[in-house]
Symmetry: C2
Subunit: 227 residues, 2 copies
């Protein structure tokens, strides 16, 4: 075997971190503090270190950018991006991840980022550095199909939520309204999707709603139809 064929390169992880905030699907976008693309928006990410697995690198980067423990949240590999020339610094292959979070305040601004902020994905479209627009598109599409077939939507919510909150997640991610009555029945009638806490939430106006927490079931079948 000829060693010339063996290309040495650097491996990065890039994170598409999504949340539902102000009735919009938003992504965590940083402003780059270093070249290349200094001062331009990008997805958070960083280089793989010598002693860690790829998923560990993703969890570490998530913690560095958001201060949150990624092991409790949804973190999933999307795919590898490795077009020659996708990074001006040289041959860098990136493993893209999808991360789902509830709408929590961001405790820290990361080291490599001069700022980190939630931005609606509709506004981010077409503005990102490297091939991060493509990564974000893939992440959003993956999240959309995950809502159909898994209980992932509960990860967008906090520790307790109403069926209306959960429906709002679906409506925002899918971009169209759902029938509240059929949705309610479907969710409550699916064993392991949600569990009642016994508490209720009293809104400013209207009938109080029962509160639920995420159940133990992870997959949905039959799925929730996207309409």
């Amino acid at each position: 075997m000829i060693d010339r064929e063996h290309l040495y390169l650097r491996l990065a992880v890039d994170l598409a971190i999504l949340t539902v905030r102000d009735d919009a699907l938003q992504a965590l976008v940083i402003t780059r503090a270093n070249e290349p693309f200094r001062g331009r928006p990008a997805l958070p990410g960083g280089f793989l270190r010598g002693d860690e697995d790829i998923d560990e690198a993703a969890v570490r980067e998530l913690a560095e950018e958001t201060g949150l423990d990624g092991t409790a949240l949804h973190l999933e590999q999307l795919r590898a991006y490795g077009a020659p020339g996708r990074d001006p610094r040289g041959r860098i292959v990136s493993i893209a991840f999808l991360a789902i979070m509830p709408d929590l305040p961001l405790p820290t601004a990361g080291s490599d980022a001069s700022s980190a902020a939630w931005v609606p994905v509709e506004r981010v479209r077409g503005t990102l550095s490297f091939d991060h627009d493509e990564i974000l598109d893939a992440a959003v599409e993956r999240a959309r199909t995950r809502l159909e077939f898994t209980t992932l939507a509960t990860t967008f919510c906090g520790p307790s939520f109403t069926i209306g909150d959960l429906r709002n997640v679906y409506e925002v991610v899918w971009g169209h309204p759902l029938d509240p009555r059929n949705f309610s029945r479907k969710v409550i009638g699916t064993p392991g999707f949600v569990e009642p806490t016994g508490e209720r939430r009293i809104p400013e106006i209207g009938r109080p709603a029962a509160l639920y927490r995420a159940g133990t079931e992870k997959s949905l079948n039959p799925p929730i139809m996207r309409g």
Copy 2:
């Protein structure tokens, strides 16, 4: 930016190449010609070169191992495997691919492989080098769900096939029988799944069956239920 943090490594692509052959789901397994694991079974694969994208490397490796043009077949990224120590040669991260082929003769034995052969996945289980057992498991599970939601099963068949041939693919991959009559109706009633060629195949015994080729539709909705 501290350069010590940037790990340089080599990137490999590994291919789980599946076919349906002799009423069994089989994988293309090579016997390694070089260290490490010389003489042991493994999935075909190789290192990324400097001028190619990851998917191009997968197509190239598929051609080298099977002599077939991968652009016409189904080739799909599974995920990256990068545990430190997964390869005794050093830090090597591998992008795993799923490839689907009809049951064709294998024209060539590859350069890095002393032999390449189809082996039923049930017999391969637990015998492969590196973390290739894990990769193959992921590939089989991905193929199973792809049959539900896409027209991928036609890729297992040749250029023309009967509905019975197609059903056999489903039965072998899923591991349980399907109702021939309902299956027939479902496939023929799904626009774009299959197109009649006008030809018929006369079997040794029994009624001749109409021949079809793959249609243009790639996704199935509603899906074919796995039972």
